[in-house]
C-alpha cells in the first residue's frame, strides 16, 4: 500500500546491506505494517491513524536501519576497504615489477632513494622532504579506519589493522635506502588473504569463521604497527591526523549503540575530515608529479618506473577521498532519515 512507501524508501536508503537483503527486509516490513494497520483498523481506528500507529510502533527509520544493518552482519564492503585492497595489490605488483627490472642486485630501492639519485633533493626547493608516495600509505589505513568505524562494524575495523601495518611498515621502509620491502609485501598479502577469506566466509554465511580468520591477521598487524610506532611518531603531521581521526572513531564506536544518530553525525565528521586530508595530500602529490615531470621526463628506465609510481600514488588519495565521500553520504542518509 502506498501509505508506507515513504517510510519504507527511507528505511531502504538507510540500510547498509546488500540490495537483495534490503529487498527482503522491505518486503517483510511492508507485510508486517499492512497486517498491523489492518488490525488497528479492525479495532475501530480510522485508516490514517492506523497507518500512523503501525509505523510508530515499528520504530524510527534510523534506529531500525541501524538494528537491521547490525543484525545482518554489516553487509556491503566499504569502498575504503576496496581502496585499501587495490592499493595493496598495486603496490605489491609495482614492487615486484621494479625488483624484476632492477639490475643492481638489491631487491628494491625506495622512491626517495631514486629521487635523490635522479634529482638530488628536488624538494629542497619547496623546503619539504621528499617522502610522499610511501607516506601516502598511511592514508590508506586512515581511510579504512574511518569507513569501518563510520559503519560501526568491528570486523571492518579489524580489516583496517593489516592496512595500518602496511602503512606503518611502509613508513619505516621509506627511511632506509635501498630497502627490502618484505614487510609491506607481507602486510599486503595478509590484507589480500583477509579479503578473500571474508568473501569465502560471507558466501558460507559464517560470521564466526570470519572472526576466527581475523584474529591472526589482527595480531600480526598489531605487532607490526607497534614496531613501527617510533617511526610514526616522527611523522608528526600524519601521526597527529591519524590520532585525531582515531579519537573521533573511538567516540563513534562508544556512542554507536546507545546514541546511533549522534554516532552517525560524528562519523560524518570523521569521514569528511579524512576526505579533506586526502585532498590535501592529492594536491601535494600533483605538485610532486609536476616537478618530476619537468625535471626528469620519462627517458630513463628509473625515470619511467618513478613516474609510473608517482602517477599511481597521485590517483590513490582521489580514490580514498571518493570512498570517504561515499561513507559520508551514507551516514548523512542515516542521520537525516
Amino acid at each position: 500500500m502506498s501509505e508506507f512507501n515513504a517510510y519504507l524508501e527511507k528505511l531502504r536508503a538507510a540500510l547498509d546491506i546488500s540490495p537483495q537483503r534490503a529487498d527482503e527486509i522491505i518486503a517483510e516490513t511492508r507485510t508486517h505494517l499492512e497486517a498491523k494497520a489492518a488490525e488497528l483498523e479492525a479495532s475501530g481506528l480510522g485508516r490514517a491513524e492506523a497507518v500512523r500507529q503501525a509505523m510508530v510502533s515499528f520504530g524510527g527509520v534510523s534506529e531500525m536501519a541501524g538494528q537491521f544493518t547490525q543484525a545482518n552482519g554489516g553487509g556491503r564492503t566499504y569502498w575504503a576497504l576496496r581502496a585499501a585492497l587495490g592499493t595493496a595489490v598495486m603496490l605489491t605488483g609495482l614492487f615486484a615489477a621494479a625488483a624484476a627490472q632492477n639490475p643492481s642486485g638489491a631487491l628494491l630501492y625506495s622512491e626517495e632513494w631514486l629521487a635523490t639519485r635522479l634529482l638530488g633533493n628536488p624538494f629542497a626547493y619547496y623546503g619539504v622532504t621528499f617522502q610522499l608516495p610511501l607516506s601516502l600509505l598511511l592514508m590508506v589505513p586512515v581511510a579504512v579506519l574511518s569507513g569501518a568505524i563510520a559503519a560501526g562494524r568491528p570486523y571492518s575495523l579489524a580489516a583496517a589493522l593489516p592496512a595500518l601495518a602496511l602503512g606503518a611498515v611502509g613508513l619505516i621502509a621509506s627511511s632506509q635506502e635501498p630497502m627490502i620491502p618484505l614487510a609491506p609485501v607481507l602486510a599486503a598479502v595478509v590484507l589480500v588473504l583477509w579479503y578473500l577469506a571474508s568473501l569465502g566466509a560471507r558466501a558460507a554465511g559464517s560470521r564466526s569463521l570470519k572472526r576466527r580468520l581475523l584474529v591472526p591477521c589482527a595480531v600480526l598487524s598489531l605487532g607490526a604497527a607497534i614496531v613501527a610506532l617510533p617511526e610514526l611518531a616522527q611523522r608528526s603531521v600524519f601521526a597527529g591526523a591519524l590520532g585525531l581521526e582515531a579519537a573521533f572513531a573511538l567516540m563513534v564506536l562508544i556512542a554507536r549503540k546507545r546514541r546511533p544518530l549522534e554516532a552517525a553525525r560524528m562519523a560524518r565528521v570523521t569521514a569528511a575530515g579524512f576526505g579533506a586530508m586526502s585532498l590535501g595530500v592529492l594536491g601535494l602529490c600533483a605538485l610532486t608529479l609536476a616537478t618530476i615531470w619537468a625535471r626528469v621526463g620519462a627517458d630513463s628506465l628509473e625515470g619511467r618506473i618513478f613516474l609510473a609510481w608517482a602517477v599511481l600514488t597521485t590517483a590513490l588519495p582521489l580514490g580514498i577521498a571518493a570512498a570517504a565521500g561515499y561513507d559520508w553520504a551514507h551516514m548523512r542518509r542515516v542521520a537525516s532519515a
Binding site: 517483510e28 508486517h32 498491523k36 515499528f58 534506529e63 538494528q67 537491521f68 543484525a71 554465511g205 560470521r207
Partner: protein, 111 residues
C-alpha cells in the same frame, strides 16, 4: 502486571527460539503468540523482534522462507534449525539455573 523491559530484553531470544520449536512462524504471528500465551505480559515491540530474527538467521539458529498466501501478501516464515535447537537447549538450561538460584534467594527465610 507490566513487564520489566530489561528482563524482557534478556529473555526474548530464548522465547523466540522456543516459539519456533513448536512450528514455523512469521514475525507478526510470533508477537501475537507471545502476547496471548503470556496473558498480555510480553507485549514485544515489532522493532525489537525483526532485527532479532535476522540476527538469529545470520547466526544459523533459524532459517527463513517466503510462503505464498492465498489472496494475501506472502509471508516470511522462520524455522528452527538443528543448531537453533542446540542453542535453545543451552539457553533453557541457563535460564532454569538462573531462576532456580534467584528463587533460592527469594524464598530463603534469612538472606
Amino acid at each position: 502486571m507490566k513487564a520489566d523491559p530489561q528482563l524482557v530484553k534478556g529473555t526474548v531470544r530464548l522465547l523466540a527460539l522456543r516459539l519456533l520449536e513448536r512450528e514455523p512462524m512469521y514475525g507478526y504471528q510470533m508477537i501475537q503468540h507471545l502476547k496471548d500465551r503470556s496473558e498480555g505480559y510480553f507485549q514485544l515491540g515489532e522493532g525489537a523482534l525483526y532485527p532479532l530474527l535476522h540476527e538469529l538467521e545470520e547466526q544459523g539458529f533459524v532459517r527463513a522462507e517466503w510462503r505464498e498466501q492465498e489472496a494475501r501478501p506472502r509471508r516470511r516464515y522462520y524455522h528452527l534449525t538443528a543448531k537453533g535447537k542446540r542453542e535453545l537447549a543451552r539457553r533453557r538450561e541457563t535460564w532454569q539455573g538462573f531462576t532456580k538460584a534467584v528463587d533460592l534467594i527469594l524464598e530463603a527465610s534469612h538472606v
